[in-house]
Subunit: 444 residues, 2 copies
């Protein structure tokens, strides 16, 4: 029987999860594949500890270089995370003829375009299902399951930390800072939460999905990114009264005259707090769950939901990639769908749509002195910019303090909205503590 | 460049949809695969009509035999539907060395176990993603994306007609009969709706999913099946007041001491109206949408949502299968995941768990004469069978007519419940218009 030999770089939680599946589900894997997948070696900086798993028979090393160059390894699983030394190890593994599986979204988002050509040239596969949506096989769905479609939009709740915080804020009427502390205590948020709460992690994942959807190159640096740290409990209540829930989805869409025939001329990519309709599928995604709504010209709306992180769900996706590679092993790798869903030579440079040209509906929360004529002066500026209003709400009244005024607008471009905002902030009786959110309807 | 030649049997709505993708998305398909997929021929009984599509260059025939035996066809798409002659054409196509893609759940559910060995022996692929969940790539997710998992449960809303009717009944407070008529007028239900509303279609699909999940053989005939035709508007209201929505999911679970190590000893399969918690993901699936909740021992809960029927979504799944086959073409078919997720030789006969041994929580709606002691006599019988109650509700009071009494129970076996029910129906002042529904919590 064919045997596929695997080496793991990094025995953190996900590394242990991946090792656990390879050991505990061996019989299942063999029944599925008709081949054996064997964990041969694993590298970690600290080996003198209890892994909570019987790793006897597995060669342990504190030098990852051993694994990426070893003669007896067919597939390297990279679970070190971050840019370096992960990138160097992956490049070395590919150069030594090893297939690579990784859960490292930062690596793929930033260095994917260096890695894919190397793999392509050598007939090797790079699997990274675990990098986006954790255990949810959303990239397999996008790349293979929806392959007959021109993808029209992607909306993904891709960061469990942010979704956990937003859910808690809503359920408990609590403010961002308090919930963040709780999330940190529970291990749902890092000590330095910037990467998650400022939307960077979501932007990494979105940039990968967008490139896979539209056949374009990954452009993480060009994703418009705003986080959730300025949202208040009052905003969540205001949104709810208007029929919306605040989420942090990443959104990607193709633009161009001829999108339906593969003519994607520009790619829209943005991550920001967004009002989603209470009865939409994405609004139902709570706690640390992730979900991706993908729409195609034939399939219409589809959604993929599950755990976006965690040892076991993430390891599930890692080993699914290993099993895909094992299916094609040793000579059938070229018969798998290419890693980014398009043959490497057909993947093109597509410019990113400038944020100023993006069309959105807006939620604006101004803080104003409660004087006659303030709302009239704001709406006059909006009207001057041809921005029409869907709703205006001013709940509190206070003689001396600024009070919030919330407005929902119809669609306009970001550029036009920003121009209007600059003029509004120059008006009297409006302070500069302005919150701009955007709102989205999905049709599902 | 490699070329894959396709023939379609049946130019109904889905056949036209599939042809449309092959023609309109040609450029996209080639960019994805690096190969061309060409529609060579199509068969239909009536050719002298407007297909709404330019089929020039496609060989049209009214004899499907031509296509399944033709030398210039690599993949046959069977979209005739039903058992025969679809089965005969598929067998002939396989015998002539052609890969087969079909949207025909009845065919796979009933004759799959005849077809898979033929395909396996000849190194051919059978694709049937479109047979379950329409456009949703849920079988690819189950078979490949979750391949590292022991599957612990499947709950699928798999019939759009039933879900449309149940959604309408709830939204409009309307009774089953009126909504069915409306659904028929709108084309959401057939003139003879039995296949859909009695749960047979769902059972077809569930039996396929269960076998794919547990590595067992397809046993459609052994699925416990009840439809939605006895549900009233009052039941929907009563369920809602208790915190539930009534859906028609198919449910499948593995049983046995050693399930987590592939030791599935029995398979539970059932289709019946079910109370699902209002805040669960499945409860949010409305109208004609489908969704499948799949849980695995590593991935935990995942859900797949989208259009379960219709020309374009179904065609999306059909062509995704064709593209999978094209990826491996001509010599890499053995490198794709096997059609049922396990190599054919590892698929085993697993007995179906008898319905009497299935454990459920129950919704019971008795019609009783409003006499003192009636509820006491019912609950005494339940207590005697060690069935404990979660809730009891009697809203209406009427001196002469029977009034509904609704009870929610905790878990018990179907066998025990049926024994209790027989005794209860023999009590005075209870008529035999009893509705038994079951209730399910999902954890997601």
């Amino acid at each position: 029987m064919n045997e596929i030999r695997v080496g793991i770089l990094g025995l953190g939680t996900i590394g242990i999860g991946a090792a656990r599946i390879l050991i505990e589900q061996q019989q299942l894997i063999t029944r599925r594949l008709g081949k054996q997948v064997r964990l041969v070696a694993a590298a970690d900086r600290i080996l003198d500890r209890d892994f909570g798993l019987d790793l006897s028979g597995v060669r342990l090393t504190d030098d990852a270089s051993d694994i990426v160059t070893a003669d007896d390894i067919d597939v390297v699983i990279e679970l070190i995370g971050g840019y370096e030394p992960a990138r160097t190890f992956v490049v070395t593994a590919l150069e030594h003829g090893k297939h690579v599986v990784t859960a490292n979204k930062a690596l793929i988002a930033k260095h994917g375009e260096e890695l894919f050509p190397i793999a392509d040239e050598k007939g090797l596969q790079i699997g990274f299902e675990a990098a986006v949506g954790g255990g949810i096989p959303c990239m397999k769905a996008l790349r293979e399951g929806l392959a007959a479609n021109t993808i029209l939009s992607i909306h993904g709740i891709l960061n469990g930390t942010c979704n956990f915080i937003l859910t808690k804020m809503e359920n408990e009427g609590a403010d961002y800072g308090d919930v963040l502390k709780e999330a940190q205590a529970l291990g749902y948020a890092e000590a330095d939460p910037t990467f998650d709460v400022e939307g960077i992690d979501t932007a990494h994942k979105l940039s990968i999905l967008a490139a896979m959807a539209f056949g374009s190159k990954i452009k993480f640096d060009e994703v418009f990114t705003e986080g959730i740290s300025r949202i208040t409990a009052a905003d969540i209540v205001a949104a709810q009264e208007l029929g919306y829930r605040i989420k942090l989805p990443g959104t990607a869409k193709p633009h161009g005259e001829n999108v339906s025939h593969g003519g994607c001329e520009k790619v829209e990519m943005r991550v920001h707090p967004t009002l989603v309709p209470l009865d939409s599928q994405l609004a139902q995604v709570s706690d640390s769950y992730n979900a991706v709504l993908i729409s195609g010209d034939f399939v219409e709306h589809t959604m993929y939901f599950g755990r976006g992180a965690g040892e076991r769900p993430t390891a599930s996706a890692v080993i699914a990639d290993v099993m895909d590679i094992a299916s094609g092993f040793p000579d059938g790798i070229r018969h798998l769908a290419p890693p980014m869903g398009f043959v490497q030579s057909a993947r093109t440079e597509v410019p990113t749509l400038p944020m100023a040209d993006v069309e959105c509906e807006y939620y604006l929360r101004f803080m104003v002195q409660d004087e006659p004529g303030v709302i009239a002066s704001i709406t006059a500026v909006l009207a001057d910019h041809r921005i029409s209003l869907e709703a205006v709400s001013q709940k509190e009244r206070h003689k001396t303090q600024a009070v919030p005024v919330v407005m929902l607008t119809h669609e306009t471009t970001e550029g036009n909205m920003q121009a209007a905002i600059s003029r509004i902030l120059a008006l009297p009786n409006i302070n500069d503590d302005l919150l701009i959110l955007r709102k989205e309807s999905f049709g599902a």
